[in-house]
């Protein structure tokens, strides 16, 4: 056996001393000092393990007190003597502890078990404690005796820097508000500042018309284009007025201005003097400004692909498939890569520095009040990258009911795949506000807590919360390599997925969008005919379900359904249906959704059933078809109710009340409140003797 002592860099930094020779003598094996973070001593530990594996030297065994060893000897003889020698002691200790799983596995005859029970009771009586606590206590006493002789702390009784930080960030009252601020900053930096600038470039430049190299000439071009656009609108308005009325009344006329972001058309008033100025401006600028005249203009991917297809003489349907389908769909998803990378980088930093482990500890206190344990936060934490490992991480929860509940609720947290559509809604309808992404994170967390409270009050999930023990490593600065590797692993997976599943999905969506029946004849459809497409027929058949949520259009319904293949598909599908490759997705979204209906759409797709891959993971972990369907049904039902309330109560504030919808929303809210305040049937406190 070889023991590796990790985080030795922190031990040395704190000025503490570990007497490795003494520890090695006490434990009877080689001790290697390592720092996994910095990679110090790792190879030495591996080499020591290899040589230990070749050696036949046995490690001295820890012995318990006399009464316990007496009972263990009896148990070994009575129940496990047929097992391999090296396993006998472990099983004997587990039987002594009355471990449910081991007893169930061994299926010891009742007569033998009653004999063993007498020995255990005798030891318990002599040591005045229960069997499990005896073993735990004796082990801790043994550990303490070893540490006493081997560890010298520099600052005994003094708080370390890490402890001082913990006093603030894990404070009973400040812990959660600080967490909220930290998460807001994470989303603000990734979605609004650094990430947004890069994503705008990717969406409008790389996957749009093009961009000026290094941004040189970009502002001069924008200025000229704006001046040209406004002057043209004034001249068009004047011409239209004169054509209709002969000449402008009292020297004024109106002209139409289209908002670039929302496509909303507003009427402005201008005078004949403005018209004269506009004519001068047009005269000065001449033709419509060409971006290539203002700097080195790099055409976007759609422009390059489009001209290549034209030169190759590709048929219209093929150009449509590639430009309006693949490039628009995959490009819409890839456009979010910069934001995703920044988000993954910040989350990796929070995880690696030790802050997220503290949040599990802070949330344990909150979760425990609602019958959940902090263990349920670990899957949620992992689920921010991808829901599947999050679901798998629920295996650490021993309590079957808590485990099932955690599996059902883990995917409420926005995973990496959900971030693009959240960012899309935020960008199109809320001016890219960081509040939208942050609120999505906290809505996911609130959904987990509310579901936890409600489900714990049902017979299926009632029970005591499991104890939560977790090591809180000292705060430390993670290495740049580790953080970048974590970011790249998640980011590359996202890019790979866009090139595989998302690409196939966009081909499917394009074909079903641009082919359909017109006048009883199956044919390729034009932009204006896509309401007759196959996808429109399928979406239209289910769109009514989402009417009460405020987005009962076939496009939105179809986007939600394709999101089940992969959540990034929501962005890809909307990119095809609303963009068509001409870069107007955001504008069309802004004209189709309102802030309320857009947020309702966001929340539904955030909380409803996850992608098929995650559903597969749920099925594997539940190991039951019934429970899998129950999980999917609960997720979709809960998402529907929350989105219904958002839309109906939102409409109440804006004065667009739908009485029937409002009645259902009030009834749903009353039901949730009733479940939240209803008393627990069973104890919600942990009572365990330690």
């Amino acid at each position: 056996m070889v023991i590796a002592i990790n985080m030795m860099d922190v031990v040395r930094k704190n000025g503490d001393q570990i007497n490795v020779k003494e520890l090695s003598r006490e434990l009877g094996c080689k001790i290697v000092e390592i720092s996994a973070l910095k990679g110090d001593g790792v190879m030495e530990a591996a080499e020591a393990a290899v040589s230990a594996a070749k050696s036949t030297k046995t490690v001295p065994m820890h012995t318990f007190s006399g009464p316990v060893e007496h009972a263990l000897a009896h148990i070994e003889e009575a129940a496990v003597h047929t097992m391999p020698l090296e396993q006998q002691r472990w099983y004997a200790i587990k039987i002594f502890e009355r471990d449910d799983k081991v007893l169930e596995k061994l299926n010891i005859p009742a007569q033998v078990m009653s004999h063993i029970e007498e020995d255990i009771k005798a030891a318990e009586k002599e040591l005045d404690d229960d069997a499990e606590s005896i073993i735990t206590n004796e082990r801790y006493v043994y550990i303490a005796s070893i540490i006493k002789g081997c560890l010298k702390k520099k600052n005994v009784g003094k708080l370390s820097t890490s402890d001082k930080i913990d006093r603030v960030v894990t404070n009973r009252w400040l812990g959660l508000p600080i967490f909220a601020v930290v998460m807001f900053l994470v989303y603000y930096i990734s979605m609004v500042t650094v990430g947004s600038a890069a994503t705008d470039w990717a969406n409008d430049g790389l996957f749009g018309d093009g961009f000026h190299l290094f941004g040189i000439g970009s502002s001069a071009y924008t200025e000229a284009a704006d001046a040209y656009g406004e002057a043209s609108a004034i001249v068009d308005g004047y011409d239209a007025y004169v054509e209709a009325n002969g000449e402008p009344a009292d020297g004024t006329f109106t002209y139409e201005v289209e908002d670039e972001e929302t496509l909303a058309v507003t009427e402005e008033t201008a005078t004949t003097a403005d018209y004269e100025d506009a004519l001068k401006t047009l005269d000065e600028i001449g033709e419509e400004p060409d971006p290539a005249d203002y700097g080195v203009w790099v055409p976007g991917v759609p422009v390059l692909v489009g001209s290549a297809l034209e030169k190759a003489g590709a048929a219209d349907w093929l150009s449509g498939l590639i430009l309006d389908g693949i490039v628009a769909g995959v490009g819409a998803v890839l456009g979010f890569v910069p934001q995703m990378l920044v988000l993954f980088l910040l989350l990796a930093f929070l995880e690696a520095c030790g802050y997220m482990a503290r949040i599990a500890f802070v949330l344990d206190r909150v979760f425990r009040k609602f019958g959940l344990s902090g263990k349920s936060f670990i899957p949620m934490l992992i689920g921010t990258g991808c829901g599947i490992p999050g679901i798998m991480a629920s295996r650490t929860i021993e309590n079957e009911r808590d485990r099932r509940m955690t599996i059902m609720t883990t995917t409420f947290i926005p995973c990496g795949a959900k971030v693009p559509f959240i960012a899309m809604i935020a960008g199109a309808l809320f001016g890219g506000s960081a509040w939208v992404s942050t609120s999505a994170y906290f809505i996911g967390m609130a959904a987990i807590i509310i579901s936890g409270i409600m489900l714990k009050k049902t017979k299926m999930f009632a029970g005591d919360p499991a104890p939560f023990v977790m090591e809180l490593p000292a705060y430390h600065l993670p290495t740049v390599g580790n953080v970048l590797r974590s970011m790249w692993e998640r980011g590359w997976s996202f890019i790979k997925k866009a090139g595989t599943i998302i690409l196939l999905s966009t081909i499917f969506v394009w074909f079903t969008t641009y082919f359909g029946w017109v006048d009883g004849k199956f044919q390729m459809l034009s932009e204006e005919q896509i309401d007759s497409s196959i996808l429109a027929a399928v979406g239209g058949a289910i769109a009514w379900i989402f009417n009460p949520l405020g987005w009962g259009t076939w496009e939105a319904a179809v986007a939600s359904i394709t999101g089940l293949v992969a959540k990034e598909n929501i962005v890809g599908t909307l990119g095809i249906l609303y963009g068509g490759g001409d870069g107007t997705v955001y504008q069309t979204l802004a004209s189709v959704f309102t802030g309320i209906t857009g947020y309702s759409f966001l929340v539904f797709n955030l909380l409803c059933a996850p992608c098929f891959a995650a559903i597969g993971a749920i099925k594997r972990e539940m190991n039951s078809r019934k429970w899998t369907w129950f999980a999917i049904g609960y997720q979709c039902g809960f998402a529907y109710i929350v989105s219904l309330m958002i839309n109906q109560f939102g409409n109440l504030f804006t004065g667009h009340v739908n009485v029937i919808g409002l009645i259902f929303a009030v009834a749903a809210l009353a039901g949730i409140i009733y479940m939240l305040v209803k008393p627990y049937k069973e104890a919600n406190k942990l009572t365990a003797k330690v």
């Binding site: 490992p389 295996r395 196939l504 992608c611």
Partner: protein, 57 residues
């Protein structure tokens, strides 16, 4: 026939490339599935439980 082929050569070649890409992706995804890897595309190497869902490295 030859005239039609000549007129639509660009479309035929690009369609063939697109078809090959699509088939390659399908084959890749099926192989990944057979290897026990999830279609989620996520790289779960950092997760302590990844050996459970992604059977082989």
């Amino acid at each position: 026939m030859l005239q039609w082929l000549a007129e639509n050569l660009g479309t035929i070649l690009i369609s063939a490339v697109l078809l090959a890409v699509t088939v390659s992706i399908c084959v890749y995804l099926i192989r990944q599935k057979q290897k026990g890897k999830s279609s989620c595309g996520c790289n779960c190497a950092h997760c302590a439980m990844h050996g459970q869902c992604h059977g082989k490295p």
